[in-house]
């Protein structure tokens, strides 16, 4: 197996693992983390496809590689926005739950300040 196929399959598994975490983890910060795992899996898949397109003296197809750089920077900005939203929710509501009815507070948890 060459490195492109190897990392492509690794990327596919990363997407699967991240997707599971995105659904199952109740804490929004953990959802952001899981979403980033999905995102990096997609990037890695694109990177493997770029590697397959090596030619003309380049180690990989430069067009998807350039898109990856753009993608990584945009993914960071989206993560920063999500984290800012979450922190604001925490400041305003004292909790960060996404449940429709607010669950009872659990100790040790002073909640709002």
């Amino acid at each position: 197996m060459n490195e492109a196929t190897l990392f492509a399959l690794c990327a596919v598994l990363l997407v699967g693992a991240g997707l599971y975490g995105l659904i199952v983890n109740p804490h929004p910060l953990r959802k952001i983390l899981a979403f980033n795992v999905v995102g990096s899996g997609v990037f890695l898949l694109l990177g493997a496809i770029a590697r397959r397109g090596a030619g003309a003296g380049f180690g990989g197809d430069p067009v998807p590689q350039a898109l990856l750089i753009t993608g990584i920077v945009v993914a960071f900005s989206a993560t920063a926005l999500a984290v800012a939203l979450l922190l604001r929710l925490h400041d305003a509501a004292g909790s960060v739950t996404l449940a429709s009815e607010v669950p009872p507070k659990v100790e040790p948890d002073a909640g709002s300040r």
Partner: protein
């Protein structure tokens, strides 16, 4: 030998991703994710994407880690509540089923990818001479697909506006984030005085090298942003109030220069974002020079967060 190294790297990536998902403690998950970002850098090198590796090293290794660690620290008291909300076994089984199905479908796609792979590499190689730059990635980012890069810079401005708009009314126009306090003679202040001059040199070097070798404005700007954040975290300077005129001008200057050159291209070269013959390289350098400070400002301020402090006049 190389195969074994790659296989080990892929396994480690998977193990760390799984740890990030299943860890009980949120900080443990974040620490795992930081390590994961580092290994991803190695994976990019193995996939011949040194430019991508450089971006991942700067963003994944530096900014994302600091952002998430800061968030974990402030959200610590919410973890116990979230643990109770853990979904039932049936939901988890369904989630596993969905995730598994997506994985299998994607894996089938990967295994049936066309051979030989479609590629634009020969086209890039044939046209790169016209741009005057030696690094094919820079040529793609600023000549062949310049529209993507322009829109990306604008997306970053919008993301920052989004973060700022989370400010409570009384803090609008004030300074973002918390004021960091540290011993002015302590070790943190020491590194915040020693490292930034080195960091600025390295950042400019990476930016300058980007014309012909791996590197460029994104990577350079990220390093500059990290250095500014370091000085802020050491309490040596404070984040500027978001109402400052120089700040607002700085945030849009890069995209505006980009758009202006693009419009000039519509007149002189016949298409938006086209460069007149022979002027491609100087124009690309002007765009990159204009974008870099804007990107550095935005990346740093995205991490600082929403304005929280009221303006003192």
């Amino acid at each position: 030998m190389m195969e074994a190294l790659n296989a080990g790297l892929a396994l480690l990536l998977l193990a760390l991703a799984v740890w990030t998902i299943v860890a009980r403690d949120a900080f443990a998950a974040v620490a795992g994710f930081i390590a994961y970002g580092l290994l991803l850098t190695l994976a990019w090198v193995q996939l011949s994407g040194v430019d991508v590796a450089l971006t991942e090293a700067a963003i994944g290794g530096g900014l994302t880690g600091a952002l998430l660690i800061g968030a974990v620290g402030r959200l610590r008291d919410t973890e116990a509540t979230a643990r109770v909300e853990r979904p039932k076994a049936l939901t988890r089984a369904l989630a596993a089923l969905v995730a598994g199905a997506v994985t299998v479908a994607l894996a089938l796609c990967v295994l049936t990818l066309p051979d030989p792979a479609p590629t634009l590499a020969p086209d890039v190689a044939a046209n790169i001479a016209a741009t005057g730059v030696g690094n094919p990635i820079t040529a793609v980012l600023l000549a062949f697909r310049a529209m993507d890069t322009l829109l990306e810079a604008i997306v970053l401005v919008f993301a920052l506006i989004g973060v700022w708009s989370l400010a409570p009314d009384r803090a609008w126009g004030g300074r973002p984030g918390v004021r960091h306090v540290a011993d002015p003679n302590g070790i943190l202040a020491y590194i915040a005085r020693v490292l930034p001059p080195i960091g600025i040199i390295v950042g400019m070097y990476i930016f300058w090298a980007g014309a012909d070798h791996p590197g460029g404005k994104f990577q350079g700007a990220t390093i500059l942003a990290a250095m500014w954040l370091l000085v802020m975290m050491a309490g040596l300077t404070d984040a500027p109030p978001i109402s400052r005129a120089w700040l607002r001008i700085g945030l849009v200057a890069g995209p505006l220069v980009f758009i202006a050159i693009g419009l000039a291209g519509a007149v002189t070269a016949g298409a938006f974002l086209a460069y007149p013959d022979g002027y491609a390289k100087p124009l690309i350098i002007v765009i990159e020079l204009a974008l870099m400070p804007t990107l550095a400002l935005i990346l740093a301020l995205l991490l600082v967060g929403a304005p929280q402090r009221t303006i003192q006049r």
